[in-house]
Symmetry: C2
Subunit: 408 residues, 2 copies
Amino acid sequence: MAPTRRTSRDIRSESRLDVLHALLAAGETTRNELARTTGLSTATVATVVSDLLSGGIVTEARVASGRVGRPTTLLRLNQDRGRIVGVDVAETYIRAVVFDAALDETASAEIAADERHDETEEVVDGIARAVDAALAQAGTPRGEVLGVGISLPGSMQRWGGAAPVMPNAAWRHVDRLRERLDLPIVIDNPLKAIATAELWFGEGRRHSSTITVNLGTGVGAGIILNGAILRGATNFAGEWGHSLLALDGRACRCGRNGCVEAYVGALGIQQTLGAIAPGHPLAAVPLQRDFIDALAAALEPPEPDPAVTETIRLTARYLGAALADLVAIVNPETITLTGWTVWALGDHLVPAVRRSVVEEAPGDAAADLEVQVSTVRGNSVATGIATIALERFLSDVGLVTTRVPTAL
Amino acid sequence: MAPTRRTSRDIRSESRLDVLHALLAAGETTRNELARTTGLSTATVATVVSDLLSGGIVTEARVASGRVGRPTTLLRLNQDRGRIVGVDVAETYIRAVVFDAALDETASAEIAADERHDETEEVVDGIARAVDAALAQAGTPRGEVLGVGISLPGSMQRWGGAAPVMPNAAWRHVDRLRERLDLPIVIDNPLKAIATAELWFGEGRRHSSTITVNLGTGVGAGIILNGAILRGATNFAGEWGHSLLALDGRACRCGRNGCVEAYVGALGIQQTLGAIAPGHPLAAVPLQRDFIDALAAALEPPEPDPAVTETIRLTARYLGAALADLVAIVNPETITLTGWTVWALGDHLVPAVRRSVVEEAPGDAAADLEVQVSTVRGNSVATGIATIALERFLSDVGLVTTRVPTAL
DNA sequence: GGGGTAAATCTAACCCATAGATAAATGGTT
DNA sequence: AACCATTTATCTATGGGTTAGATTTACCCC
């Protein structure tokens, strides 16, 4: 497959996305300010804004006067343009979040999931029920829904009889979902979703290369290079959780040994604690989120648990070494950390990870690297997959040509 | 650093590069054929060709008649436009290759290097002497030299007191080189050079993502994404040889433990043999290229050495696992292998590596991956760095705006 | 009414690519 | 010699994008 060639339409597409991002960051802003923050000329901004006003994506909020000179018109994203739903299909739950067209969350609904979600019908049904419940809570008629983004995880292997390339392999189930939902849908995986969220809401717009690392049960990375998500040949890029930390090391859920996830996934952290202190009560906590929360509690002053402290130290080392691989291969400007492990343990883990990645990276490759907790709030998978659905909608109405996942 | 914004000039730049690549691949060709192979319109091709003719980059070779219709003019790259020198500064030699402007090799000279090349003056002197010798052999006056590309390896740490980010850290020595050579120079590292060679001469133009892996003393990867070299924030991308294969594994020359290079670099392969058969005569061969050549000889029928056979098997496994990491993180369409280890051992190693990477990659991520020996002939570092110098020259004369390394 | 200021729009110029028309250069036929 | 058919190369008008500078708009103040 040859590289794609850019046209002048793609230039306009990127200009529109730049303006949208600036509007999203600012809330309300003027054409002149948009020109300043995007670096586009005022004439280009005026043209782009006119397009977005015509499309109903942007609205003129109010007119404000300065001390002197012509009054200025403040613009904002038109939240009433419609609604977008982001669905995070995880291993223990299916969560549907309704966003307005300015990507603010308006409602959400969650359905418990268990082993059941390995059965196709059950998953399709679960997704539909979660979407219905969220739309009902938001009081949103289906006619107002611009799109539904659905994030399916890598562990859902049996759907396509394949690995984490779900978006490409799951075609046999997409029609069932479309039929069941009767709404425009787009399917992608959590890594592409969190990267998209980071690109629209986090560090991704300010840096030419950002990697956002998700730490939870599963572990993975969303890679942003020059304002675009790295997808790879089969949409598989970013499965860093299943790269090697230790040849012939611990067994991993994916069937291999020594994967990064087997050390820094929640289960891997629990195993580390069990190796340090066999019989430690927290090593037997059955649910992974409970385990991580219990770790955080055990680290509280005045008497932090020494085995838990050692577990954090070792985990930071493993994570630092694994992040050093990303530095060695991709050399990003910044790495952001997200996921419930980070929310719970970030205060203890992140400073140690920063030190570890500098030590583990070859030479001084990580000297200028920024490592920080992602500033994307809420469920970043749902936010990101909803954003992908918005990108698809913008593509469908002719406003955007780039960045949209192909053939999904 | 914000992502770079594309303009219409960048579109023309890519069109020119497309035409140049097609000319390079075809040798001689017509405007109509260029339009067919590049997919550009005949009008755009005519415009681009006119630019390249004006710049002296392309020349009209001859006129050929078909059976009927207007005769056609055959075009080719103008090898007499000038000369370009590519310098490969390796650990045991400094090799300077003179290329004509059609990137065909016309002369070369090699100077032995040893521990001496860690001293700045010695290296500068060595480079200058190699360049002088190669130009003398080619009978090329200095006035005809369009540029000199110099590839400095990661091991040359003391130049900048830094790691493999030589191109950025070595500013204090660039002036000395400029002064000494009195020619326009551009400095880069071997990974960017081999990637550029693969992009211009190999698989890089036919695929949206190609990783070219160099196996020798040092080990690394050049990454091409959508027709461009992945450089990273500090030009460090591709140092996959210093990512982890085994946490706390073998000591590596870079000071860490467990690096990929410690297992699949020539020294690492020798260590593997030593572990399989302590006291094996080949385990004591002092020069690494001699060692690899001796391995190849020991594999010849009718009696391949069993310890050597086992060494190849293990090496294939290590290499497959390490390539699987590239698959997991970047998900390329194709991986090409290059370097003197591959030239010598490819027949035995490559089929086993293909099988290994499929086994080691998570799920079926590597199902569609192509793994092949690079089709770039000759010293691909010298070829690639010369090509980078040509890109710089094309940029200086205003024909190209993209792909050129910044500020070097 | 005139002057000053700041926001928004207009205009002309620059850049790129292409579909279709036109010109150029043959060979073959009448 | 004139005409037709074919193929190559160039020309032309149109579509798309961005921006520097000019002009218009909408105020406030004197």
